[in-house]
Symmetry: D2
Subunit: 354 residues, 4 copies
């Protein structure tokens, strides 16, 4: 209810502020008997981790997951999986300067208004540090989903946009460059651009695209819990996200039905896939693909006019170590959230028929 | 769980197929003591109703709501509000031709795959007829929300796009034209265009914009139930929706942080509103605005190649009375879903502080 | 949230007041493909119906269920099953005398205090009429559960107590007498007693026992949703219930561990069954049995001192047609609630292992 | 869904096995601004702790709670409260002898059947160690509930039964004796009896009574979430509980309506309180009281016939340090669960009227 849980059957509840002793979560509803690959979980954490390249925040967090329950002799037991991740790089003094200041386009002001109190250190609960817990749960969800393949990548940084669609690029390129763009040449340009933005003390937005392959039929629960509605909510719950579209998306609004409809081929697959693998909220076996809009990071290394907690004018300037562009590190988070949505519907779908 | 409920505190559960005896729903969690304006509820139903103008489907449904419980002497009693809407225009024979055919880009195929059975008459449960129930609940939610003002309108039809934003148009124009575009000149062009599309036996997509004014602080529950994530899910659950963006949306991804950040004015309001009235998932008191992408209606009055339930090739052609463009009738549905989201968070927010 | 839903996967939401136009509900989450036996549903309704014998209320309600959705060609479709039951015997004038009076041990006072308004006609939402909807859903749940056999019966009326346990009686006797006691001799005494109580204008309490046979292993979800905890809540939610015990129950508190423990037999079944078929909250395959305490009906045909809505002293006297003892009609309700609990866990259990 | 969460608004989710590194939980939905008394929380933990007296298990667990989030400068912030409790006394070797053995009347067999795998060390997830997390959350709930006073005590041990009701005893006596019986003389006899039972290597059951005073009107949500139904489920979810009754309970079934009805006094309070402070599922302001049946602890220090995981006959004998009677340590757990139920309804009740 209070917004810290995601999913119904395969359910993640998270806790933790960026500068408390630890963040963590509970995964409830993971079926028993799943052999966990802990290296794979750790690999996902490394993809999200600060300090992984020159174009992301240089904070130092090891992001080591400590599992406390729900696993016995390497397998899930059907009981809740509790885990914590210590906040090893808590430089709380870095944040004393914002104690009584509302940073523009952050959650400082709204948390104070809503709760009458906030942990101002590093954004507290509103910090994207919370997404580390999502990556843990998503990594386990991916293992549950077996052959379903979820691939996210950066498709634009600012005005720089990858014009190719997912079938025209080489996924193996994604992890070869720090931007996580599946086109080496474009990745290189984006990297340079992010570096120049950082030098300006500024930040920039971008988009992440995601494709899900080998999807079984039948995932999604009409009418309110359509598969794309759940995916949309999952993505919009990630920090800094401003938009979501799937299949033909906003471009599809300009098409006619005669162009947009996906004609069936003998057997059931479709010639085109404007539907994005989902019809009536239910997966049809075609590839699911969607795109997510991320705004520029709000913390900039420039002076900004703002107000203090009394409502009076003051000036703020970003300190510390922040991402100039959030999309490279958002890639594993997008995949994790997609995995959580699919795991939930995958389990639900097992009981949709007698 | 099975996807037919929306909301947590102010909760709507709906039932019904397009060609069963009735559709309906239960609104649970509406506080006691709310004096209901039944004319206002009926007025919303009229805005969604088929046959209201020359550019929408000519099906004849009175869409009269029958309240069965939860209301006593004109006031809500705190008990569940049950209601039904009869399906008076069930021409089931119209649909016998699609019994064994999967219409392209409809939910026929996916329902059959998921459930092993489907009510093929008029789309059954996947029909947008279900949204009539949402409008009933949304109309009551609007009354609970008192001064909060929710206004949706058509902002594009196919390539025709209203270039003005919500503060540049006259809301009183919206209900004066059948398209529900708040610009008389553009509305007239859109109307002509929709008529021409209908003549071709084709359909076209479009967008609906929505703005919510006089929003109190504090609505929204971080981290997974951010206000915009809930709005996004609500909108994506409407039939034919392919995308959602709020505030700066996809355009915001191209901006720098120094441009995008919303500087505070003395007191707490902001100079710009790229945040779309939501920061960290919580309303900040500024206007909330968002845009929704609707694909072209799948039923077209043209011959299409498709398959039957055995997977073999066949041909289908739309019959009956369908909307050439869904956005004019989607306007009240968008408002209803926005009202449902806000009502839920409005109630939850009353217990966020001691 | 507002308390009108039961279950998580197989979920019933009900609505309706005793003197509104209809009561009804939505069953969400029933798997697709279940062939419904409508006569069996009706038979359950007949067992709960007023007027069925000389020892129950003589109100005349046909209690005909009208299914509005979720069923196609006799089978469930996986979509929500909406249904209504008309209130055909609404004699609202009967209740005008209690408009401003709080009847002792009814919900009049608490509803007024909680909601500030109440539908005073016949108890409104607090009337046991609501349980008709539970019987509808329970009858469908029973069909889903196939071979699982749920049998409830009256085990005491006032001081008259059936001393035999469920394995010592003949279940086929239950429906042969109006008390629903599986011992003809005791049933006859109970019947006479209830008649004498009615003549006094008084009422009396009693107990219902229930046994569930052919239960598969693994039903129940530790730790908060233990099978017996869910059964307990289900039973305690029935009107007039004051207590619940399963297995050895309150008598078991007087035993030693060495007496109480259920020794295993080769293979896994147990020699005794003090556990009542549930260990650690999970069914172990043995018979599940429990007992439920019902208080005497609050409406008596005698003058009682009470207060009006201003808090002042007044006198009330029962009018209309009421049950002198609730347990004979409670039997099918107990079975229905047990079926709802089991159906939910039966479906959940299908996804507890990979 | 998977049974590890309790509550809807004020919601506790727990994790942890008795012999993992730690147990813990997340409290979500506690309103912001509550000043926490950590000594009071610790005091509750001490009441539940092993080794507190000569008549309970002599295991050594410090049960120190480590709060990880949701609290800032001593106050709740509205964000989730994560906490862990280390398992400092994990003597896993003690349990190797039961690896392949199903102990009678434990959850060994059912967990294995349900999940196909179990953490056999000390009962794993089915251990009552989990209740330590409930006490943490309950202690916070108590602080939220302010003036509402929840008092539980031991009312019977085996055949020894306190014949006085809650208004006839001195609550200040409860914590003065290790049995937690509010009658010094009876407590002394019970203590001696428990010691003798221990010497026999046996165990015995008992009952805990609980009374809630200063309850506001309006707590409870009809129809399925009646206050007593939620209390019943809460209590039945505690390890070893076999029954629950409130108000007149099972004894009330033998009464006539004319005796049982609680006549109103001028103003609204009642002369008698057979209703147990709850009418129609909603609190009426009178004292709420109920009684809970606990079976004898299953682990006895005697040889028992049982089976191994292949279904073959074998012998088991309890080792380690176990409670001869669970009720003294159950007292704070009962209070904690009552507090969790009330906190949830207390918050929900704030939004039941406009």
């Amino acid at each position: 209810m209070a917004g810290n849980s995601f999913g119904t059957i395969f359910k993640l509840t998270t806790f933790g502020e960026s500068h408390g002793p630890a963040i963590g979560g509970i995964i409830d509803g993971c079926p028993a008997g799943l052999s966990l690959d802990f290296e794979a979980i750790n690999a996902e954490m490394q993809r999200r981790k600060p300090g992984q390249s020159a174009i992301v925040t240089q904070r130092k967090e090891e992001d080591e997951v400590k599992f406390l329950s729900g696993i016995f002799e390497g397998k899930t037991t059907g009981t809740p999986i509790g885990f914590t991740i210590e906040n090893t790089d808590q430089k709380s003094k870095d944040y004393s300067h914002i104690k009584d200041i509302y940073r523009p386009s952050h959650a400082d002001y709204t948390y104070d208004k809503k709760y009458g109190i906030r942990d101002y250190r590093g954004g507290g609960r509103s910090s994207a540090r919370e997404t580390a817990c999502r990556v843990v749960a998503g990594a386990i969800a991916k293992q549950l989903l077996q052959n379903i393949k979820i691939t996210a990548y950066v498709s634009s940084v600012g005005e720089m946009e990858l014009k190719k669609n997912y079938s025209q690029v080489d996924f193996s390129e994604i992890e070869r460059n720090p931007v996580r763009c599946p086109d080496a040449e474009m990745a290189s340009k984006m990297e340079d651009y992010i570096k120049s933005i950082r030098k300006e003390g500024d930040t920039v937005g971008g988009t992440v695209s995601c494709v899900i392959q080998n999807v079984p039929f039948g995932l999604g629960e009409p009418v309110f819990d359509k598969l794309h509605a759940a995916l949309g909510k999952a993505m919009l719950s990630i920090n800094a996200v401003k938009g979501f579209e799937y299949g033909s998306g906003f471009a599809g609004t300009k098409m006619k039905g005669s162009q947009h409809n996906d004609e069936f081929k003998r057997g059931g697959s479709t010639k085109t896939n404007n539907s994005g693998g989902i019809q009536g909220g239910i997966s049809n076996g075609e590839d699911i693909y969607f795109k997510i809009a991320f705004k520029p990071v709000a913390t900039i290394m420039q002076k900004q006019q703002t107000i203090d907690s009394k409502g009076d004018k003051t000036v703020t300037e970003g300190k510390g170590r922040h991402d100039p562009c959030v999309v490279p590190r958002a890639v594993p988070i997008v995949e994790a959230m997609a995995a959580l949505v699919l795991a939930d519907f995958y389990l639900l779908n097992k009981i949709s028929k007698i």
